[in-house]
């Protein structure tokens, strides 16, 4: 093993380039799947609130599948399985347009949507019952009451859980490596193979992941402590 030298990796033009593009891909996957998960999470929640039993059961099934099947297996099912039964034209298009990353975003997003919708649902349960009736009495439609009165409150109640799951979503973006996405963990493995500087490469990735996670946790703690969100109920 060579002596510890962080700069040998950081100042090397090829290695630093690989690490930077890996970080960029990690951010793209985390952000893309977060936006997909959050919007789908809201939609699932609204469907679940409808007074229609089969819709409720369908969403419950969706949530149960995504919570009880390992995320890595879900990604493999998307990338190796579902990709294979798509129409040929679509398969070729995906092959030309970084299909691994698209499947990673879709897979992680759909999985995390289940967690987000459950977080929001328990946020909903902690809203005082009168809020719904008051909003309807003031002339809001079902969707209007939802959008302007109930969802904002549910969101505030659900904030700590949402932040926790955002951190796990960010960490889970590393699973994309297993289906060949060139994100940070993947880049680190490549740098390690080329430079034989395992310790340095892992240390850089660990510090980057840790910094981002701690930042998210700190933002979450700060948001939860904000008196404006504490008085939501």
């Amino acid at each position: 093993m060579k002596g510890f030298d962080l700069l040998a990796v950081l100042t090397h033009p090829q290695f630093s380039q690989m690490l930077l593009s890996g970080m960029k891909m990690t951010l793209i996957i985390a952000l893309g799947s977060w936006m997909l998960a959050m919007s789908l999470g809201f939609i699932l929640l609204v469907i679940r609130m409808l007074p229609f039993k089969p819709a409720d059961q369908a969403v419950a099934g969706y949530v149960s599948y995504h919570r009880n099947v390992p995320t890595l297996v879900q990604l493999m099912l998307w990338y190796f399985g579902i990709a294979n039964i798509l129409p040929a034209g679509l398969q070729i298009w995906l092959g030309d347009h970084n299909g691994e990353a698209i499947f990673a975003i879709v897979g992680l997003g759909l999985c995390q949507a289940a967690y987000f919708s459950e977080d929001l649902r328990s946020g909903f349960r902690s809203i005082q019952p009168g809020q719904d009736e008051a909003a309807r009495a003031l002339g809001h439609s079902y969707l209007g009451a939802m959008a302007y009165v109930l969802l904002p409150q549910a969101f505030r109640h659900a904030l700590p859980a949402l932040i926790n799951h955002t951190v796990s979503l960010f960490k889970n973006s590393s699973l994309a490596m297993a289906i060949g996405v060139a994100e940070l963990t993947h880049a680190v493995k490549e740098v390690e193979n080329l430079s034989f500087r395992v310790f340095e490469a892992y240390l850089i990735a660990t510090v980057v992941y840790l910094a981002c996670s701690l930042l998210l946790m700190a933002v979450g703690a700060w948001l939860s402590r904000d008196p404006a969100s504490a008085e939501a109920s």
């Binding site: 390992p70 960490k171 990735a205």
Partner: protein, 254 residues
């Protein structure tokens, strides 16, 4: 429909591989290995997690700070990254190569130890403070009060959370696939490399098997939680943490 019959054929032809891997001609794998890895992981992580939790609750900064740092580092870094570290460091430390199973087990113990410690810590904090005061008044030392009064009650209340954490552990063993640990996901991927033509069916089977195992265990955790909840509500509300099953233990200690 043909997809379903394909899946049934695949299971009929390969159920042994999915169950125990290539054993006895190779290392134990398949779902047997997944379950053994998860059980060992959580059982070994448990004592570690109690120690971490007690250190985090301690007034002494020498104990408190390192434990807090450990928990935050493990919570902030992807499990995959932790696996790579253990894969790299353990052979360096003991000067010999280790099988993937052991690498994965070490990783799980550290990872689950940190996550379980948060559950244990939460369980201890949730107990009414009168419990500690009463135990101290009865002549227990701080350690004795923890050992005979606080921990037994806290652990009983935490059982559903620990079971949920066990389900998470089962799901996390899949990451061993990346370093070729022989377990269920690895077996399915081997099968996929051999058959080549039925990836959807194989990974659908894999998802279904995990679903059955994890869903049933989650249901057990839910039932348990409801029972404990009911028991707590049945108690005197001012004394919600004190539960009947622990009473003999408390008497035995005094």
């Amino acid at each position: 429909m043909s997809m379903l019959s394909n899946m049934i054929t695949i299971i009929e032809d390969n159920w042994l591989l999915l169950l125990i891997g290539q054993y006895p001609n190779g290392p134990l794998g398949g779902i047997a290995s997944t379950l053994i890895l998860s059980v060992l992981g959580i059982v070994l992580a448990f004592p570690l997690s109690v120690l971490i939790a007690l250190a985090r609750l301690s007034q002494w900064k020498v104990l408190n700070w390192p434990a807090t740092a450990l928990v935050y580092i493990v919570r902030g870094v992807p499990l995959l990254m932790l696996i790579l570290w253990v894969y790299f460091l353990v052979p360096l430390l003991i000067g010999d190569s280790v099988p993937g199973f052991v690498t994965m087990l070490c990783t799980l113990v550290i990872y689950e130890g940190a996550f379980l410690s948060e559950i244990v810590r939460g369980g201890i904090i949730a107990l009414p403070s009168g419990q500690m005061d009463a135990a101290r008044a009865l002549g227990h030392s701080h350690v004795g009060a923890m050992r005979y009064v606080i921990l037994p009650q806290a652990l009983y209340n935490m059982m559903p959370s620990i079971l949920s954490q066990f389900v998470s552990t089962i799901k996390e063993t899949t990451l061993g696939y990346v370093i070729n640990v022989p377990e269920l996901t690895f077996a399915a991927s081997q099968l996929n490399n051999r058959l080549l033509t039925k990836p959807f069916e194989i990974f659908a089977i894999l998802a279904i098997v995990y679903f059955i195992v994890c869903w049933s265990l989650s249901e057990v955790a839910n039932q348990l939680e409801q029972r404990i909840q009911k028991q707590r509500l049945g108690d005197d509300p001012s004394d919600a943490g004190a539960l009947q099953p622990d009473a003999p233990k408390m008497q035995g200690a005094t």
